[in-house]
Amino acid sequence: MKKYIDQGKNDTRSGFGAGLAELGRTNPNVVALCADLVGSLKMEKFIEENPERFFQIGIAEANMMGIAAGLTIGGKIPFTGTFANFSTGRVYDQIRQSIAYSDKNVKICASHAGVTLGEDGATHQILEDLGLMKMLPGMTVINTCDYNQTKAATIAIAEHHGPVYLRFGRPKVANFTPVDQKFEIGKAVMLNEGTDVTIVATGHLVWEALIAAENLENQGISAEVINIHTIKPLDGEAVLKSVKKTGCIVTAEEHNYLGGLGESISGFLATTHPTPQEFVATKDTFGESGTPEQLMDKYGLNNKAIENAVLTVLKRK
């Protein structure tokens, strides 16, 4: 199996901060907005270098989304920053009417997604955001897996015209994708070719999928691992090509199974190539306080859960 090296644990939100800082230097139209979470979103560098292009909104996310929509009128490319919960559910109608329906070029950048936010608990651990965002017509939905990919994605979405939801997280995780990668929106990344089962993972679950594939290899099972960073538009072609070879699929995400990546894939496969599928995702539940590791374990979101799902789906082939 192909080996991936952790270049040193880092948080995906820092990848966002680094990407935003680079955009500040290269694209004069990029502006940033934050609702009182500058430190959490790692936006300090951009602000330090471009104070006139930063808008501190205060704790008023609805107003932030509207202001971002307005800034596009005049040619700006606004990047909003707050937690995933306050980037989506709290401001759904503002995004729906003022951004998505109005086709505004706003980049909604959301940190602290999922249970790995940890000790703050369920009030802040949104597990429904991918579903909320992917249901909006015209919205591009991206969930990155490590520091390097998040930085590359942040830079790439500035070049894409239209509303984007970019989701990332709080904890330091393995940083294993290439530092010089070109991020292609809507294009799945093949991480390991295999023949027995397809594992499609997004976000923090991608590294876990690689560990699971290695453990499975030791049991004589050949797992193909695909990183789907773009939930919408979905790279159906990559999924189809893989399941035609392996005959079964496991989807893995830090999100409710309702509304997430797995649901998108099952919907796609149901109409193209019905395939046995198992979901590694939360099972219609809220999270709770705990360490990220404890929560990933309790809610079945780690390499062990992926491995078990593979063993289950193989029996259904």
Partner: protein, 281 residues
């Protein structure tokens, strides 16, 4: 003053457009539209500095955002008669495959519209973003908005009102259609909002009243004054005292015609009170 007569003629014609549009599809919002007819006519034909044609960014011209999107009939009529799109297109209001949706939208590419509105309370935030983009672009033109008074019950407005003053967004003139009515009745009965002038002032805005909000001369004078107060570190609010349903006697002073179209007989009566001036579409 010949210009005033031209505006007056246009106002009557727009009123006819509104009535005929909502009558044809037996839906839409005539009350607020009629109440704001003089204001929108004056805004587009005398107050705002506009370029020819339409582009989304609107650099180098004044911008207008209609936050209370349900009064789309008056907005569409004024835009069409200003030349943004063919006047005949008013025939398609609320019909399938039309660019004139029930509430204004950019989605169908209708020239003159820069944001969707209808779900209330969002327009001021959008306008503040556009105003700040103007500042970044070193564009000295202004941003105008219109909001319903009942619409101020939506909390997002107060986030925006606080922000505008706190961040000294002084290139915006936000006008409140102060007619005291909303769908379920008088605003004082549905949810009393207290002294709006004092509320805006307490948030740090410069506020002025246009007491005769259905009088073109009063509007022109008041908006000129409002414009003179921009660029002084404070956002400017205009409380435009209007009469819902103005210009059609049986629609005035009531919330009954907020979202109801006239029948054939009522239309005939209403049109007779507003004789054709510039030609019906």
């Amino acid at each position: 003053m010949p210009k005033l007569q031209e505006l007056q003629d246009l106002t009557v014609q727009v009123r006819r457009d509104i009535l005929r549009m909502v009558h044809k599809v037996n839906s839409g919002h005539p009350g607020g539209s009629l109440g704001c007819t003089e204001f929108i006519v004056a805004l587009y034909n005398e107050i705002m500095e506009l370029k020819d044609g339409f582009d989304m960014d609107g650099k180098g011209e004044d911008l207008f955002f209609l936050s209370n999107g349900h009064i789309s009939p008056v907005f569409y009529s004024v835009l069409a008669r200003k030349g943004y799109f063919p006047v005949d297109e008013l025939n398609t209001f609320r019909l399938i495959d039309s660019r004139l949706q029930g509430h204004p939208t950019t989605h169908e590419g209708l020239p003159g519209v820069r944001i969707a509105s209808g779900s209330l309370g969002q327009g001021m935030s959008v306008a503040l973003g556009a105003a700040q983009a103007k500042k970044l672009n070193k564009d000295s033109k202004l941003v105008y908005t219109l909001h319903g008074d009942g619409e101020l019950q939506e909390g997002q407005n107060w986030e925006a009102i606080m922000y505008a003053a706190g961040k000294k967004v002084d290139n915006i003139i936000a006008t409140i259609d102060y007619n005291g009515q909303q769908i379920d009745g008088a605003t004082d009965d549905v949810l009393p909002m207290g002294d709006l002038k004092k509320k805006f002032e307490a948030f740090g805005w410069d506020v002025l009243d246009i007491k005769e909000g259905n009088d073109l001369e009063a509007i022109l004078k008041g908006m000129k004054e409002a414009k003179s107060r921009t660029g002084k570190g404070k956002p400017v609010c205009v409380l435009l005292h209007t009469i819902m349903g103005h210009g059609v006697d049986f629609m005035m002073y009531t919330h009954a015609w907020h979202g109801k179209a006239p029948n054939d007989e009522q239309l005939a009566t209403a049109l007779a009170q507003n004789p054709e001036t510039l030609g019906d579409y």
